[in-house]
């Protein structure tokens, strides 16, 4: 037992190399086998990287403690099994030095965990760096709204950001508590009524990153997903241009043209905003101005294709339990027209 207290402090050289590889190995065995799109162990931003680094440090200490203490336990139960004819064991009541030792040892280890922890806390308060891209995030039951105040863009469930540029999120909720979580880019931050919370990160690689709401928020909490599209600067600029250009207007006589008409006189306008339809100004549901350009709909749940869009508009709650968009009584042709119109709004 006495060794266990001392060994903890020695860190032989081989160990320090292991220090990086062992956690990668253990945690990554399964991680290598598949492609884990929502993994916290494959950070792709400065912020996520800092959290990952801290966790790996703690993991290492924990593993050391685990091996030593479980080891001591194993040794004890193997070595001191009752032997037939064994005498009564020596009646030991305690050992002061030993007990002091194993009070101090964990305390010291904790210092090595606490110091980097507190440093990381102060480094990740979410304070925005100057020049950061500002995005307002609003959680809704059960979808995410993203607003770019400086660019005049409002979109849903798919956050577009440029690579290598700091992004500063200002986060609120429209109803209950949700939690914004895109593991490869950022740790969680709750959105709570009456508060504005902040997160800041700089993505370091281009790609699509999955995320989802991490605070239980009611029936479709499981279906409140999102993606972050990290683009090259030019890719991002192109996206911004598309979002801010004049809304496309369908050729008269086309199905989409009809669709705009149907949309404008259906219940849709009671909940949705759509630039191409002046009467559609409501903000209950997602802004549909460029919905045709999104990869997914309904909180990242379904691919944005004709079939899913059609089913969704006909009967959203059937596809997503509890969805706050009601079942719509639309004639089949109207439905087709709306779908065509929405798909044209890229």
């Amino acid at each position: 037992m006495r060794d266990s207290a001392t060994v903890i402090f020695e860190a032989p050289d081989a160990v320090s190399r292991l220090r990086y590889w062992l956690p990668v190995l253990v945690l990554g065995i399964l991680a290598c086998a598949g492609d884990y799109q929502q993994s916290t162990l494959h950070p792709a931003s400065d912020f996520a990287g800092r959290l990952d680094h801290l966790f790996r440090g703690i993991f290492w200490w924990a593993l050391g403690v685990f091996v030593l203490v479980e080891g001591a336990l194993l040794v004890a139960i193997i070595r001191f099994r009752r032997r037939p004819g064994g005498d009564q064991p020596r009646q030991v009541h305690g050992h002061t030095a030993l007990e002091i030792g194993w009070t101090i040892a964990p305390a010291l280890i904790l210092v090595f965990i606490a110091v980097p922890t507190i440093r990381a806390i102060f480094a990740s308060t979410g304070a925005a760096t100057p020049g950061a891209l500002r995005v307002e995030v609003v959680g809704h039951q059960w979808w995410w709204e993203f607003r770019y105040p400086e660019l005049g863009i409002t979109t849903a469930n798919e956050l577009h950001v440029p690579v290598s540029r700091p992004v500063a999120l200002e986060m609120q909720t429209a109803d209950v508590i949700h939690s914004f979580w895109v593991p490869r880019l950022a740790g969680k931050r709750d959105v709570i009524a009456g508060r504005v919370n902040r997160l800041a990160f700089t993505a370091d690689s281009v790609g699509t990153f999955l995320g989802q709401c991490a605070e239980y928020c009611g029936e479709s909490h499981a279906n409140m997903r999102m993606r972050v599209m990290v683009d090259t600067d030019s890719g991002f600029a192109a996206w911004v241009d598309r979002q801010t250009a004049e809304p496309p207007s369908p050729d008269s006589g086309s199905l989409a043209f009809q669709g705009r008409d149907v949309f404008g006189r259906s219940a849709c306008i009671g909940c949705h905003m759509l630039d191409g339809v002046p009467v559609a100004r409501a903000q209950v549901g997602p802004n549909l101005s460029r919905v045709g350009g999104r990869a997914t709909i309904a909180g990242g749940l379904f691919p944005n294709d004709t079939e899913h869009l059609r089913r969704w508009i006909a009967n959203a709650p059937a596809m997503k339990p509890g969805a706050l968009m009601p079942q719509m009584d639309l004639a089949a042709e109207d439905l087709d027209a709306i779908v065509a119109y929405l798909q044209s709004m890229k």
Partner: protein, 591 residues
């Protein structure tokens, strides 16, 4: 001196004998454990593969809420209460608890509260807000149904039961100790019971208040948690966790007490560092009060608060570690007998360490930002709750059931039970660490195949069913041994404490003569204390009483008013309660 009836329904309804009340707690908690376990199995079946469709989203949400609530409040806490009831008076050499009728009252309130909450299943509106019921989701606007009302009122009733039991056990342990049984000779299980009950009486009032606010918001239209009126949902989180964190120590300390009894007995060595183990238990309880916000690191409380709570949380690892080391040192140099009880006790240490270490990784807020609300947390708390509390309670069952029933449990079945449970729990909960770190949030009824977590979830589900088999072995064992178990005799294990000095099962009055204690391990140092030949005062067994049951019935009646919207029930319930209390207070009842 009329002895209470000893058989028949009436004898159970009116009993004030701590042993019978303990038995009632035992079976009730056991049944709720099976129900909570069944809920867990359905949860796991649903999650066995991505896009599962066994149950609907709504049903799933009810299942995990009721699973958590049931396990915490209706299974584990009452199971610890079963042991407090059965064992504490025996360990301290008392003939009963200090307030036997209050004790009966606690049990009936607990039973009725549990039934009340589960009655919600009958109308398909079981609570669905999660076991910590975060507002404003659980407020009237977002949860208009009765689901949350059942939860609020059920917990409120259960709180009464816990508080009443708390006062009772504190005074029992402090005041009814046998002559010579000083606090520093008190068995560790009784010590941990004492600490636990202090946590109960201080933590439960806080959740009572939080729940009253919620009740008022839901029923009377107040705005405590309504943001539009300035109310702050974060206040609920603080109040809940000010209660909630001590609550998790309320769940673990009794198990730590049990293990501290089992290890010495089966190593045939005194507990190493008794004083330190006791004091660290007290310290854990005390420090448990200053860490609540570690459940709220993603709220954004600011760096100063996060740092404070992180540091305070980490400190708890120290006294906990001290206990672990002292337990290992108790084994060291012993003559270890691997009875089933001992296997579970050692399993407890091994598993609790894992849960504690993941707890430390939560304690670091930045690291927790990636872990909170994922399956990594689910892994953490099942290692401490199942690997800790449940294994500890199982150890207690194999250790003390022979005392309660007079018959040993089967060691063969026990061995099956242990290994199935041990392997099953690691299969179930170990993969959850990865599942969480690889990106699966908790409380989701379905997950996307793209996450790539199907296989690990399947393993976890299989593990849960293995635990199920293990639990079946326990059920069979407990039922079978009641008839067919080998007679235990007063002291089947060679235990050191007082409960082993009397017959199994003990006579209604426990001790013919209250023993005089001269050491911490009375039966190891002096064996049978020379029994004074002349019995002390005439042994008197208190009669049963109906009034605890009657008074207890008033509470669910009052609670029903909210779910039935019949105001009259409030008055009826209150009348029943007051009537019960008056009859109780003026009933001739000698202890």
């Amino acid at each position: 001196m009329s002895n209470p009836p000893s058989t028949g329904l009436r004898s159970w309804l009116t009993t004030t004998d701590h042993k019978r009340i303990g038995t009632l707690y035992f079976w009730t908690a056991f049944a709720f454990f099976l129900i909570g376990g069944l809920e867990a199995l359905i949860i796991r079946a649903q999650l066995a593969q991505p896009d599962g469709s066994l149950v609907s989203a709504d049903t799933y949400n009810q299942l995990f809420t009721m699973h958590g609530t049931t396990m915490v409040f209706l299974a584990l806490m009452p199971m610890t209460a079963a042991f407090f009831n059965w064992i504490v008076p025996l360990q301290i050499g008392a003939r009963d608890v200090v307030f036997p009728r209050l004790n009966a009252f606690s049990y009936w309130v607990f039973l009725l509260g549990g039934l009340f909450m589960n009655a919600s299943f009958l109308i398909g509106a079981a609570p669905d807000g999660g076991w910590f019921g975060y507002v404003n989701l659980t407020g009237p606007q977002y949860s208009p149904g009765l689901n949350i009302d059942f939860w609020v009122l059920g917990l409120q009733i259960l709180g009464v039961a816990s508080l009443a039991a708390g006062f009772n056990f504190i005074v029992t342990i402090l005041n009814l100790r046998a002559p010579g049984l000083t606090m520093m000779r008190l068995p560790v299980f009784s010590w941990m019971t004492l600490v636990t009950q202090f946590l109960v009486i201080t933590a439960f009032p806080v959740i009572t208040v939080a729940l009253v606010f919620l009740l008022f918001d839901r029923t009377f239209g107040t705005n405590f948690y309504v943001p539009a009126a300035g109310g702050d949902p974060v206040l609920w989180q603080h109040l809940f966790w000010i209660f909630g964190h001590p609550e998790v120590y309320i769940l673990i300390l009794p198990a730590m007490g049990i293990v501290s009894e089992v290890l010495p007995t089966f190593s045939r060595k005194p507990l190493f560092g008794y004083t330190v183990v006791v004091y660290s238990g007290v310290l854990i309880g005390f420090m448990g009060w200053g860490v609540w916000s570690h459940h709220m690191f993603s709220v954004g409380l600011g760096p100063i608060a996060d740092s404070f709570f992180a540091a305070a949380t980490m400190l708890i690892a120290i006294p906990t570690g001290v206990k672990i080391f002292n337990w290992i040192a108790t084994l060291w140099g012993g003559q270890i007998r691997f009875t089933t009880a001992m296997k579970f006790a050692v399993g407890f240490i091994a598993m609790f360490i894992i849960g504690g270490l993941s707890g430390v990784s939560h304690a670091s807020p930045p690291s927790d930002l990636q872990q909170t609300d994922t399956y990594y947390v689910v892994a953490h708390f099942h290692y401490v709750l199942f690997g800790g509390t449940v294994l500890g309670l199982f150890a207690g069952m194999y250790y003390w059931i022979p005392k309660m029933t007079g018959r040993l449990l089967s060691e063969r079945l026990g061995s099956w039970h242990f290994w199935l449970t041990f392997i099953g729990m690691n299969l179930t909960f170990f993969p959850m660490h990865f599942i969480g770190l690889l990106g699966m949030p908790r409380r989701i009824y379905t997950y996307a195949p793209e996450l790539g977590l199907g296989t690990m979830n399947l393993v976890s589900t299989i593990g849960a069913f293995v635990i199920g088999l293990g639990t079946l072995a326990l059920v069979i064992n407990v039922l079978w041994s009641r008839r067919h178990g080998e007679p235990a005799g007063p002291d089947p294990w060679g235990g050191a404490t007082l409960e082993w000095s009397i017959p199994s099962p003990p006579p209604p009055h426990n001790f013919d003569v209250i023993p005089t204690v001269t050491s911490r391990l009375p039966r190891w140092t002096t064996e049978h204390p020379a029994a004074p030949s002349a019995p002390g005062s005439a042994v008197h067994v208190p009669p049963g009483s109906w009034w605890p049951l009657v008074a207890a019935a008033g509470l669910p009646i009052m609670a029903s008013a909210v779910v039935t919207k019949l105001l009259a029930l409030v008055f009826l319930g209150a009348a029943v309660l007051v009537f019960g209390i008056y009859r109780w207070a003026y009933e001739p009842f000698e202890v």
